[in-house]
Amino acid sequence: MLKFLKDNLKKIVMLAFAYTYVLFVAVVPIDYAVTAPGGLTSMNTAFVIEGHDMPEEFYTIFVYSYRPITRFQYYLFKNDPKMIVSKMTPAQHQNTIIDEFRKGQISKFYSYQTALIHAYQMASEKDDSIFIDYGFEGLSIYSYPRRLTEITYGDVVIEIDGKSYEDYEPEAFFNLSEHQNVQYKIKKASGEIYEVTYEQIANDLPFGFFEKYEIYDAYPHFETPGLSSLTGGPSGGMLQTLSIYASLLNINIGDKKITGTGTVNYNGNVGRIGGIVQKIYTAEWANADIFFIPISHYPEIMDIKVSFEIIPVFTIEEAADWLYENFY
């Protein structure tokens, strides 16, 4: 063996260099992230509504986000129109995968609550036996400067500069948070209350919030088993709302596969999301029939050839009305 190594030393050294280079390219991460097409999640098991079947035809879409990627992946994906390769943001640098997972779960919780509230409210206009009672309970922390170690994801801001959430409409209270120097009173899930004085400094991750709603009572009663799934994020809000709405009003969708994407805020506006192009390709691969999209995203995808019908909407009411008129 040693004789073989000595005889072929030159070739072995050259091979070792080539090997190390390939290994380096395929293993060492670089400062880039990629967003790639993902898959569909059925809304059928996400909610359980007493006395109603959840329709099987509604699906939310998820995309995959990987970071950091290797140089090999960078070369592979940079010219692929179905992928977005971009430099990592400061937030992506500072947040761990666990942080991202927690953020995804918080935004999903917000999305579920908002979907239930909107769906019940819209359905109650068609059927007055349906009702929902809920209240605004502060701002759920979704992003924060990492130097503020006392804060954890999901803590709820109940006072901003001495002003309580109880005295404000959700949007007005949300707007109070847009200060660079501010004092927050925050409530943890355990009930413990603490105060944080925040002075913005350079390279700080900004504070990010979702309005926190508590649903006190609703008829028909509901459960949300989908909250325990691993996928997260707020972009399924529109489809979650539509699936609950269709369930409450027993709308028969037939064999159409309905999907789409878009957050829904307190006012019912459908908001922008990340990875819209990748979501369009995911829907195409999954043989979708109808795709709901925030109207502001429509110009970005109108040149992509797809085999399904695209419904651009500005508000969740528009989407629900379209569904009601076409399938009820």
Partner: protein, 128 residues
């Protein structure tokens, strides 16, 4: 069918006899060194293809095909491991060079790979 089973049985008997003969010459030290060396060489050979396949898992449409390729690569690693194990063992013990190690190599490879395929099928059924 009967001939095939007979052949299998015959090969298994040969395997038992050959391993018995090999074990007469080997020591714990040389076997340990051969195992570690074979694992290392097989790993060096298989590492780059495995890493490249793992790098490509972002293509969701290819997940199933890539998973099968990954299983095949693991099976190749097992094959390489047993090949280099006997090469190194022969290197340490000249007496073994005359013994046909191909049958022990294939029999052990087959046993391990049956186990790997079973695990792979269970994992595939759960995931896909």
């Amino acid at each position: 069918m009967k001939t095939f089973i007979d052949r299998l049985f015959k090969d298994f008997q040969k395997y038992k006899n050959l391993t018995k003969r090999i074990n007469e010459y080997t020591t714990v030290s040389t076997v340990t060194r051969s195992i570690l060396g074979a694992m290392f060489i097989a790993l060096i050979i298989i590492a780059i293809p495995v890493i490249i396949v793992i790098n490509m898992f972002i293509y969701t449409k290819l997940t199933f095909v890539l998973s099968i390729i990954l299983v095949l690569l693991v099976m190749t690693w097992v094959q390489l491991y047993f090949y280099f194990y006997y090469v190194l063992l022969k290197n340490y013990h000249e007496e073994i060079r005359a013994i046909n190690t191909r049958i022990p190599q294939y029999v052990e490879f087959a046993f391990v790979n049956i186990f790997i395929v079973m695990i792979a099928i269970i994992v595939f059924v759960i995931i896909f």
